[in-house]
């Protein structure tokens, strides 16, 4: 199919036309090819790339499937997502990652990159067959025990070393297990009042510090998942200054929500790692703006209603993210003038694609680049309605929030998977 996004603004602010033919950008400029889609007032960015998504398939298909997660991704402007390994069975073999990869292809709404487990069964004891997963059809490059920390320093060291052979990266969920036994929320003034077991910042920072030093020692690549603390930002800043090969992510919710929301005891705010203080939020924003933090990743974690409709300590950890991520980042970073649209494209598309080694993703829009594009309306606000989300689950902490910026079109490999804010039913085969 050939069409032209006419009168569209690039991240740089330049207003132009983007012509697409097949799966490629044909031209950017005055040329018009094929059908014309008027995009006056809209902005085109390279399709968003999520490096941290929980899809729940196989195992908990009542919460989310690869297909429903892909729909949510497309609605959120994503053309790629990365399926975390903590499914049931765990994605710790070539068989499981290939199954997820195939389901992603079948869904055809965005590119689905399986993440492989670092250790067998996420148990933290024996390395999973990282090489087999790397060589499988899914070509896994990112490995993570997310949900659990690779806490044994020797196992972490070996994993960092091992993935060097195929250019892989270990994405660490930094959480010292002993320091967070039974932990329910950020440890501080609020937890002291609420009588909820505290989750100290140091439990996150101690692992980050250790892993930075390990990555330096074995000269491998380390990615820190969902950074949440001011101290963590400082550690990553220091590591980068030393030239250590470390990247870091932050979630949208940690850029905006704080631990005082837990005072409601509403488990919709229960998440791992926990919501921190306003001081941490400001440090995360500053770190994202100055490049210390490389990317925004959703940590989209769907849970069925009954896992949140209960008392706090019995509830599951996690929040939805795919369909609200861009708007939250716009609200916290762009509207506050902390970042430009180009920087936003970097942290939500270009950088995550680089970390994951996703060749057809996160490519700045130019003639010949892959036609993975999100078109947004920066002038339109919308009210989040958990019932209207495409995810199978409803556990968004933003229900009722009025957020800026609407996703208008999502073009995946030249196909309008979302057009005029609606899923079209089309897919890329």
């Amino acid at each position: 199919m050939t069409f032209t996004l006419k009168n569209i603004s690039l991240a740089s602010g330049l207003v132009t036309n983007i012509a697409i033919d097949g799966t490629q950008v044909l031209s950017i400029g005055s040329e018009i090819h094929g059908d014309v889609v008027d995009c006056t007032g809209l902005i085109a960015l390279p399709g968003l790339v999520d490096l941290h998504t929980h899809l729940r398939e196989p195992g908990k298909e009542d919460s989310e499937t690869v297909l429903s997660g892909s729909k949510a991704a497309a609605k959120g402007g994503y053309t790629a997502l990365s399926a975390m390994a903590n499914t049931s069975p765990v994605a710790d073999t070539a068989g499981v990652v290939e199954q997820v990869y195939r389901l992603g292809k079948e869904a055809g709404l965005c590119e689905v990159f399986p993440i492989g487990a670092v250790t067998v069964g996420l148990a933290g004891e024996r390395l999973a067959e990282l090489g087999a997963m790397a060589q499988s059809a899914a070509r896994v490059r990112v490995f993570s025990d997310d949900g659990k920390c690779v806490s044994d320093p020797l196992v972490m060291r070996r994993a960092l070393e091992y993935v060097k052979s195929f250019g892989g990266v270990i994405a660490q969920h930094a959480q010292d297990p002993r320091l967070t036994e039974g932990a329910q929320m950020n440890e501080g003034a609020v937890s002291s009042r609420l009588g909820l077991a505290g989750w100290p910042a140091v439990a996150e920072e101690a692992i980050i510090a250790r892993d930075i030093l390990l990555a330096d020692h074995v000269k491998s690549r380390l990615h820190i998942c969902h950074l949440t603390t001011k101290g963590g930002v400082e550690l990553v800043r220091w590591a980068k200054a030393q030239g250590i090969n470390v990247t870091a992510e932050v979630t949208p919710h940690h850029l905006i929500l704080t631990d005082d929301l837990v005072e409601s005891y509403d488990p919709i705010f229960k998440v791992n790692p926990p919501l921190r203080t306003n001081e941490d939020v400001l440090a995360l924003r500053a770190g994202l703006a100055d490049g210390t933090i490389d990317i925004v990743a959703t940590d989209h974690a769907p849970h069925p209603t009954e896992d949140k409709e209960c008392e706090w300590s019995a509830a599951a950890f996690g929040m939805l993210g795919l369909e609200t991520a861009l708007s939250v980042v716009v609200k916290t970073m762009v509207e506050t003038n902390a970042m430009t649209w180009e920087q936003l494209a970097n942290v939500m598309s270009v950088n995550p694609a680089k970390i994951g080694g996703y060749d057809r993703q996160g490519v700045p829009l130019a003639a010949g680049s892959p036609a993975n594009i999100v078109v947004i309306d920066p002038a339109q606000t919308w009210q989040v309605d958990k019932e209207a989300l495409s995810s199978k689950s409803k556990n968004t902490p933003f229900h009722g929030y009025v957020l800026p910026t609407k996703i208008v079109h999502t073009v995946y490999e030249g196909i309008f998977v979302v057009k005029n804010q609606e899923l079209t039913g089309l897919k890329y085969e």
Partner: protein, 316 residues
């Protein structure tokens, strides 16, 4: 007064005075041969206990029965409550049974608030202890006990010096008492090893001490908290003997206290660990009074929450 009692924060100082003076009046009224009042006839109070606590349940049950309410004891312990739906399901069952008040004891902090805010139930929710969060009626009965021990003060505790000693970190009694006693003007000092004080305690309206012997002579009230022996396994303190030596109320310490000072304990006590038998049984001890005052205070709370029309019924 709000229509729920989930936290001491739900109460204004005027509410607290009203509860304490009501308890005092109830004591006078029920001093005679008949202890039962007809006030809550036809109202149903459910004791919903997800955790064993015979003394708190009996106290609420006695209070409700003395006001002629119908009492249903619903012990949810042992049933499969780990998933939490059962809190919702149980709530809806109680709703269908026409409960006017639910007195809830739960091991999870915030469970009472969850029950009250969820929309699962329209009954008045009274927190009888939620996890390590709060136990508001215990604090109220403690304040009532203090006010009786210092009759000149009525319920103005300004300048009164109260020490709360022991496992503050895991104590709902301490949290409620800190809020309540400081609202009434008392100066509260928490005495504990640093391991048993929560991170963030510096934001509380209290003084902190790690040393029980430092100012013992200055306190008007010494409230000892129960220490759970299983805490030792998490390195909160090295041994029972060391804890007892550092933070136990023994005879020698008892003798150093002010003449007018009183000793309190929410029970159940570990005699010989946080409190010696001689301290628990001494003339300064008001521990037994606390039990009787518990019934009166809970009667006052039940009366003030259930005795009148619901606020919506009178259009306020």
């Amino acid at each position: 007064m709000k229509s729920q009692l989930l936290s001491i924060n739900d109460l204004s100082t005027a509410d607290i005075h009203s509860i304490l003076s009501t308890a005092a009046e109830l004591e006078r009224i029920t001093d005679g041969p008949t202890k039962k009042l007809p006030t809550l006839r036809g109202r149903t109070v459910v004791n919903l206990f997800f955790e064993d606590s015979t003394r708190t349940r009996i106290s609420f049950e006695t209070a409700a029965k003395r006001l002629s309410a119908d009492v249903i004891n619903f012990s949810a312990k042992g049933s499969s409550v780990s998933k939490g739906e059962s809190l919702k399901d149980t709530a809806q069952t109680l709703q269908a049974m026409g409960a006017d008040a639910v007195v809830i004891r739960h091991g999870s902090s915030g469970a009472a608030q969850r029950l009250a805010d969820s929309g699962w139930i329209s009954a008045t929710v009274i927190n009888a202890g939620d996890g390590t969060h709060e136990h508001p009626t215990q604090a109220l009965l403690d304040a009532f006990t203090i006010s009786k021990s210092f009759p000149d003060r009525k319920s103005d505790f300004s300048g009164l010096r109260v020490a709360i000693v022991g496992d503050i970190l895991h104590s709902r009694v301490a949290r409620s008492n800190v809020l309540l006693l400081s609202k009434l003007g008392a100066s509260v000092t928490l005495i504990a090893p640093p391991t048993l004080l929560p991170v963030g305690v510096e934001t509380w309206p209290v003084k902190i001490s790690y040393n029980m012997d430092e100012q013992l002579e200055e306190f008007d009230v010494v409230m000892m908290l129960r220490i759970q022996i299983e805490r030792m396994s998490n390195f909160f303190f090295p041994s029972e003997r060391e804890y007892s030596r550092q933070y136990g109320l023994n005879e020698e310490r008892l003798l150093r206290m002010k003449k007018s000072a009183i000793v309190m304990h929410p029970g159940p006590m570990n005699r010989g660990l946080e409190i010696s038998a001689s301290s628990a049984d001494s003339s300064r001890s008001v521990i037994v009074d606390q039990v009787g005052n518990g019934v009166l205070t809970r009667m006052a709370v039940l009366y003030l929450l259930l005795g009148g029309a619901a606020l919506t019924e009178v259009g306020q």
